[in-house]
Symmetry: C2
Subunit: 187 residues, 2 copies
DNA sequence: ATTTCCATGTAATGAGTTACATGATTGC
DNA sequence: GCAATCATGTAACTCATTACATGGAAAT
């Protein structure tokens, strides 16, 4: 099967409750958005494919609140089995692509202030992300206090939090280095 | 121009010295491999395109040591200008895709031991990466002690090092959580 | 003898985003 | 009245890996 992880991301979320494509998109951004993303262009065709294979099943076809009709999908037993079978498979790590580090690597050729500006932008983004992680942790801990999956969800949030903290520490160090590049970085 | 960063990665490396596609591939893995990668399928066509635009220029066409002939490319003034113009452009962050965190997020459905095994594998990989960063830092600091770009190179290595250290800390915490999921993670 | 490394290139395949088309409803 | 949100879907396009084809030379 091609793109097994994308399919199983949808299956995993549908194991929580039946949803339509639009719901899935929103939930993805809120829940697993900091380490996974799917666009509409992926979600809708994938849902059709999953339905064709019997891993999800079209549920009610409601026109909630007079809006355009929503096609809700529910996971099937086959879908749950597929999810369970996928979890133990070895994870493949994606080839990294960090444009900030790439530009910094060639930073000697950049006009004055360029590198600093990129890092400052990165600091803002990282700070925002860190704040979001903390907020989500608290909201989730309260709203889903007794949910059996809560510890797993918090684990992934902790990852984001700890990496973001490390990035902020690096940012300060890097800005210091750029002020006096001759000194380099002591090991 | 499509794929500007991939092109500029090659231009940046060619600004160090003229190289053939094979050299570039090797140097990419050694120098920027922990945050950027290019496959042969990208490198060779890109080199042709860059040559057609006059950003690189085919240099000697030698059959070094009796091997198959190597097509060496050198960066041109136009290529240097393109690189310089690209550096200040805003960096775009790639959509993250971390299969380990995805599987952990749905970890409640996994057979016993699955999550632990994934994290253990991640620990080994991260430990190896950390060791590699430290080695490269030392080698580079000695071999290129007076190179004006050394501080920039070390900066990117530091990033890898600090993030890897944070990941190792998270790993230990996460393994602890998996032993007693009821306790969750205190904030 | 056989594997590994050097060296270049193309074709097939797979992802995955963005833009577009459509249209109702809700809030400002 | 207008923008934003809800809702689904397709088409075009970009990006990138993998596999394949070729073949000499060096190392084991």
């Amino acid at each position: 099967m091609p793109n097994e992880s994308g399919r199983c991301a949808l299956l995993g979320l549908l194991s929580l409750k039946p949803m339509c494509g639009y719901d899935l998109r929103r939930l993805i951004q809120y829940s697993i958005g900091h380490f996974w993303s799917e666009s509409f262009g992926q979600i809708y065709p994938t849902l059709h494919a999953l339905a064709a294979e019997g891993l999800v099943r079209p549920a009610r076809h409601t026109a909630t609140k007079g809006n355009r009709e929503r096609q809700v999908y529910a996971i099937t037993d086959g879908g749950r089995a597929t999810l369970k079978a996928w979890l133990p498979l070895p994870t493949r790590t994606q080839t990294p692509r960090n444009e900030l580090l790439l530009k910094l690597f060639f930073g000697v050729h950049a006009p004055p202030g360029t590198n600093e500006a990129h890092i400052q932008k990165f600091r803002e983004d990282t700070q925002k992300a860190l704040t979001a992680y903390c907020q989500t942790e608290q909201q989730l801990s309260r709203a889903e206090a007794n949910h059996p999956e809560l510890p797993y969800w918090l684990m992934t949030l902790r990852y984001g939090r700890m990496v973001a903290a490390a990035e902020l520490a690096w940012i300060d160090e890097a800005l210091g280095t750029l002020q006096s590049p001759k000194q380099g970085m002591e090991v």
